[in-house]
């Protein structure tokens, strides 16, 4: 299908175009970036509507027949993730136009952002495991630079720590790929899956699983590997945090884990129990640590760790209900966590601080920011009409259905903790009516239209995201992506079927 390479090529081309003309024509870089991501969003919606009819789209790069060459593949899971990534990417890029105003050398920011989006789309579409590694590295390296973009002490420190930890993770992934290649003599994921079918209990496969779990677990910030996330999320510019938390950790981490462990290696009870252990650790640690934080972005960052735990729990349960819950919650979390980070950025602009003890009266000074953040917080804490509630409910039910009541109790407990720390963090900041804070702070800036519009759109999307569970096109996509994961290593046949 000839549409697929454009999804990667357009942002990549835009990055180089911005580097060429951005220095000379200052205003052009934002326009190029937004229009490129807009094209990608249109394309990905088109791809998703084609995939929703039950087809698998496939593009053979350079017309090499698989298993040679690099195929681009869009099945249900890729298409759904692509839509999430590009919609959030578009809104974040528009928000950046308003937010990045105060920095110098804005064109470099847009170029890096485009590279990150190109890398993320590449990870989602590729059918080749080494190409997945390359795209993952493109996205990661662009992110290291974006985290350091402010050039403050803190952002440099955060960027260095993130880059070091993430590079170690990448080394483990590369080593895993080398072992898999030596074992299967192929890099094509579908071909690899069909070779591995009869070798699922070999020692090499367990070793490779451990390497991938370390590498991708680090990218997903599951708990033993989470240390980089609070640094990187709190010190980077807000749109970058929104992109990191809303898209990056899910695509580079959760999507890669799901794709490789379900469709290539094949899920085993051992891997399942490892994912569940990491998930429970993440849920509890993230929620407990979020309590003590004073910085609003650190609260959201620790909450990301905790919510990624929920997603991984649904993935680890691996019944169809658990997978539906995981993917549905992932979709919702993308929307409301990027909304919350954009809201945090606006609140920082308005009040001039990120310190929650100094932040008051946000709803009064900017109703849109206040109510948008409130909607995000209500959804993430699982208040009934919003999508976050249904996602958590599905995951909890799947635990009960799989006969793991202890996990269900943990999930309920962590949900309660989530409500508590969001209440504690946001209620004083949003509603607190304290005259002493009214004129305090160096902020007091109005937020611009470019910042307000994406927040409003995200707030509306967050509010209606629960409706995806009702029948419709989006629901077909959700079911399609669950079917991809539950078909397991049947993935190989469906890919080869689509190519030939």
């Amino acid at each position: 299908m000839a549409l697929l390479p454009y999804v990667v090529a357009i942002p990549l081309g835009a990055a180089f175009l911005i580097l060429l003309v951005g220095r000379r024509f200052k205003a052009s870089s934002g326009v190029i970036a937004v229009s490129a991501v807009f094209c990608v969003t249109t394309l990905s919606l088109r791809i998703a509507s084609m995939v929703a009819t039950g087809k698998i789209l496939c593009f053979k790069m350079g017309n090499w027949q698989p298993p040679f060459g690099i195929p681009l593949v869009a099945d249900g899971l890729s298409a759904l993730m692509l839509v999430i990534a590009s919609v959030v990417g578009l809104l974040v890029t528009i928000y950046s136009v308003g937010y990045i105003r105060v920095y110098t050398d804005r064109w470099k920011y847009y170029a890096l952002m485009m590279l990150m989006i190109a890398g993320i789309n590449g990870v989602l579409l590729t059918g080749d495991i080494f190409n997945l590694f390359v795209c993952l590295e493109i996205a990661s390296i662009a992110t290291y630079a974006l985290v350091a973009y402010g050039l403050e002490d803190e952002s440099l420190e955060a960027s260095f720590k993130y880059a070091v930890m993430s590079s170690v993770g990448s080394c483990f992934i590369l080593l895993g790929i080398a072992f898999l290649y030596s074992f299967t003599s192929t890099l094509n994921m579908a071909d690899m899956a069909s070779t591995l079918v009869s070798h699922r209990t070999d020692k090499v496969v367990y070793f490779v699983s451990a390497l991938f779990m370390m590498g991708f677990g680090l990218k997903a910030a599951l708990v033993p590997f989470h240390a980089w996330l609070p640094y990187a999320h709190s010190a980077s510019p807000s749109p970058v945090s929104a992109m990191l938390s809303g898209v990056s950790i899910k695509v580079l981490g959760i999507y890669a884990i799901a794709r490789i462990f379900y469709n290539v290696i094949g899920i085993t009870p051992a891997v399942q129990s490892v994912i569940i252990t990491f998930a429970v650790l993440s849920m509890i640690t993230g929620a407990v640590l979020a309590f003590g934080q004073k910085d609003i972005k650190r609260v959201f960052a620790y909450s990301s760790i905790s919510q990624i735990g929920f997603i991984a729990l649904g993935l680890g349960i691996s019944t169809p209900l658990g997978l539906t819950g995981a993917i549905f919650y992932l979709l919702n979390h993308s929307l409301f966590k990027s909304l919350l980070f954009l809201g945090a950025g606006s609140m920082e602009r308005i009040t001039g601080t990120r310190d929650l003890s100094k932040m008051r009266n946000v709803i009064e000074s900017s109703p849109l920011t206040g109510y948008a953040t409130l909607i995000g917080a209500l959804s993430i804490s699982g208040i009934p009409p919003f999508g976050g509630f249904w996602g958590k409910l599905l995951i909890i039910f799947s635990c009960l259905q799989a006969g793991r009541p202890v996990l269900a109790i943990v999930a309920v407990g962590v949900s309660a903790l989530t409500i508590a720390y969001y209440f504690k963090a946001l209620v004083p900041a949003l509603f607190g009516n304290d005259a002493a804070f009214r004129v305090a702070g160096i902020g007091g800036k109005r937020i611009t239209f470019a910042m307000a519009a994406p927040m409003a759109v995200l707030a509306v999307l967050t509010a209606v995201a629960g409706l995806i569970l009702l029948p419709g096109t989006a629901n077909t996509l959700l079911k399609g992506s669950v079917a991809v994961l539950s078909s397991g290593i049947g993935y190989a046949e469906s890919i080869f079927g689509a190519i030939r």
Partner: protein, 112 residues
């Protein structure tokens, strides 16, 4: 077999260097060693005893040849490693300008 074990030993040296050293530059060198070891392992995977370079020409009969795919793959991977190292060194230089030290334990404004 020995060569693979030595390669993994090299990887562990790099990992030890990243985990235990306090100097930013030494950490970067540690990452370099890890990436080097991973690349070396990948090339070794494609090696065949007494194999020749994988170049095909008309009038030649190819008997033994090393696997060309790992070489192509490692080339890409080396470029990625170069980009990461370059970025890390740049950030380390900026950190030195801001903090006046290369000691990672003294670069801790982000605690909490």
């Amino acid at each position: 077999m020995t060569v693979y074990i030595m390669c993994l030993a090299l990887f562990s040296v790099g990992l030890y260097c990243v985990l235990r050293k306090r100097n930013l530059i030494k950490i970067i060198i540690g990452i370099g060693i890890m990436e080097y070891a991973a690349n070396l392992f990948f090339v070794l995977v494609g090696y065949r005893a007494q194999g020749r370079a994988p170049i095909y020409a008309h009038d030649q009969v190819i008997e033994k040849m090393v696997d060309p795919l790992p070489q192509a793959v490692v080339l890409t991977s080396i470029v990625i490693a170069l980009a990461v190292t370059l970025l890390l060194v740049t950030i380390a230089m900026r950190i030195y300008e801001k903090y006046g030290t290369f000691d990672i334990t003294k670069i801790d404004k982000l605690k909490g």
